[in-house]
């Protein structure tokens, strides 16, 4: 039955225009980063671009692979937290906004299996986004002939991606729960915005490694090379957040009133 659930969820995701729109939107990130690098690689041409050139200089000092991959890593850290919020919100919230939750919840299937299939699809979706971003990153970097490439640099960037993508996935359960509890999109969207604002504030006060939505951005190196990456305690916080969100999502699906 779990496989049937998974089939249904994958089909829904594949057919939804939102999946493709989100992929394209997030895929725009490496294009922007590559454009900045291009400007920095050719400062004389870049000066004619005015504001964009200023932005590029603010984002990085040099137009090379280390700066480019660092920018992509931070994009995965901060942007990923927003994207995973959208993913969880959409996969769970759409059942209420489209009025299909009442059909789904009257089926003779375990609601735990339904929740697990939905989370699996969220993870698959985000993994596809991650693969897409890194593939696009390396393709654009190669096309631009950016200086400073070394195999070790590429390996480190990919290892960072392999760390950030699963960490980010762990944050999907909380917005999913809010979507189920509030029966729609608005609640989890508000929640995602609130976590970003709170994360920014807590990050500035040193509490970042203990707040789930700051941990992934910190782990992407956004605080700079002098700040150590979050330790094992932060990973435990992420795991606990995921487990709590999962439990609450299942519990709400299973026990609460499903009125639409």
């Amino acid at each position: 039955m779990y496989l049937s659930n998974l089939y249904a969820e994958l089909l829904k995701l594949r057919r939804s225009p939102i999946s493709w729109i989100l992929l394209l939107a997030f895929g725009f990130g490496p294009v922007v980063a590559a454009t900045f690098m291009l400007i920095l690689m050719h400062p004389e041409t870049g000066q004619r671009l005015g504001l964009i050139a200023s932005k590029a200089h603010l984002a990085a000092a040099n137009g090379d692979w280390p700066a480019y991959l660092s920018m992509i890593g931070q994009m995965m850290g901060i942007g990923g937290v927003i994207i995973i919020g959208f993913v969880g919100t959409y996969v769970f919230g759409r059942e209420y906004t489209e009025g299909t939750a009442k059909n789904l919840l009257t089926l003779p299937i375990r609601r735990g299996s339904l929740v697990a299939a939905k989370f699996a699809v969220c993870a698959i979706w985000y993994a596809v986004i991650g693969i897409w971003i890194y593939a696009e990153t390396f393709l654009l970097g190669s096309l631009l002939g950016m200086p400073g490439y070394t195999p070790a640099l590429a390996r480190d960037a990919l290892l960072q991606g392999l760390r950030l993508v699963p960490e980010t996935m762990l944050l999907v359960t909380a917005p999913a729960w809010i979507a189920v509890a509030s029966k729609g999109f608005l609640g989890p969207f508000g929640f995602t915005v609130a976590t970003l604002l709170l994360g920014t504030a807590l990050g500035a006060t040193g509490w970042g490694p203990w707040f789930p939505w700051t941990i992934v951005p910190l782990d992407s190196g956004m605080a700079g090379p002098d700040v150590p990456l979050p330790g094992i305690g932060a990973k435990i916080v992420l795991l606990f957040t995921c487990a709590a969100g999962w439990f609450l999502t299942w519990r709400t699906f299973d026990r609460s009133d499903n009125l639409q």
Binding site: M1, S4, L11, R15, E98, T106, L107, N258, L259
Partner: protein
């Protein structure tokens, strides 16, 4: 009245003292009703009477505050999956995954209910959906969406259909079609149907038995289509002779002539009344449950509010 386990097992659907409160409001209040196998049970009530809340409890979408729902003897609150396995349903509006085709919507339902592959072709043919199978559900007309919803409800070959306002937003042709489909299921496959509506005339011509819910309470149950509580309206060529025939042959009294010239006959079954009139040499051109009578009764019960 005590209900033993055999009775429970025999019933397709049974509620026992079913109650649901929302804060201070008793949306459903001690509801006792049952639906027999092969019966169409009409659940009638005004908007806000508690119909949808009752149906949601029947399907395990919300939990009762007290009491319970048994589907073929299985308690929904305790064994939801087992209880709803033989049930097909349509709750309020017909909804589907808009970006999926009709085929994909049905395929999802088929897989999730563990139904055989042939069931897809069966329901597509049954609801004449073959020309729409590759169309996205979001582009379907309201009537076709309703057909899709019913096809989805029936794809698992249920023994009980629970339908909440299935004729909502349908044009008269669509309503007639759904009515015919439900009757066919009852007659050919012995499926029980629990159908809620606020449309009195629709329920009167469809159901075998009607329960009226008002302010969360089941205030009256009656048989229709000639049952002991309902009345039958007949149209004949000669009223006086028809009255004599019915009185003589069936022993029924109190037959009244309506303003439109038809006769209201109480206490007899439609089939036996028709047979008596025809056998007695009368010419019968109308035979139907007396909706006007049901209407006045409904208004009387619900206080005409």
């Amino acid at each position: 009245m005590t209900i033993d386990q055999d009775d429970r097992d025999r019933m397709a659907l049974q509620t026992e003292k079913l109650t649901r409160r929302f804060g201070e409001i008793r949306a459903v209040d001690g509801l006792d009703l049952s639906v027999r196998p092969g019966e169409i049970y009409g659940f009638l009530g005004r908007n806000g009477a508690g119909k949808t809340t009752t149906i949601r409890m029947m399907l395990g979408l919300i939990r009762p505050t007290a009491g319970r729902v048994l589907l073929f003897g299985v308690d929904v609150a305790r064994e939801r999956r087992e209880a709803v396995r033989p049930v097909g349903c349509l709750v309020e509006t017909a909804t589907a995954y808009a970006s999926l085709t009709v085929r994909e919507n049905l395929e999802i339902q088929r897989r999730l209910t563990g139904s055989p592959r042939e069931s897809f072709d069966r329901v597509v043919a049954m609801f004449r959906l073959s020309e729409f199978t590759e169309r996205r559900a979001g582009t379907l007309s309201l009537g076709n969406k309703q057909r899709l919803a019913l096809a989805r409800a029936l794809i698992s070959g249920p023994r009980l259909l629970i339908l909440d306002e299935p004729a909502n937003s349908l044009d008269p042709a669509g309503i007639v079609e759904i009515r015919g489909t439900l009757r066919r299921f009852r007659d050919e496959e012995g499926i029980s149907v629990f159908v809620s509506s606020h449309n009195l005339s629709e329920i009167a011509v469809l159901a075998d038995r009607i329960g009226i819910i008002h302010r969360g309470r089941l205030v009256e149950e009656m048989k229709v289509n000639g049952g002991e509580s309902g009345a039958v309206e007949i149209g004949v060529s000669d009223n006086r002779s028809a009255v004599r025939i019915i009185e003589d042959r069936l022993g029924l009294r109190g037959i009244v002539e309506t303003a439109s010239g038809t006769l209201l006959v109480r206490g007899g079954e439609a089939a036996s009344i028709a047979r008596a009139v025809v056998d007695g040499g009368g010419s019968l051109h109308l035979l139907r449950p007396a909706v006007d009578n049901l209407e006045s009764r409904f208004l009387q019960i619900t206080g005409g509010e």
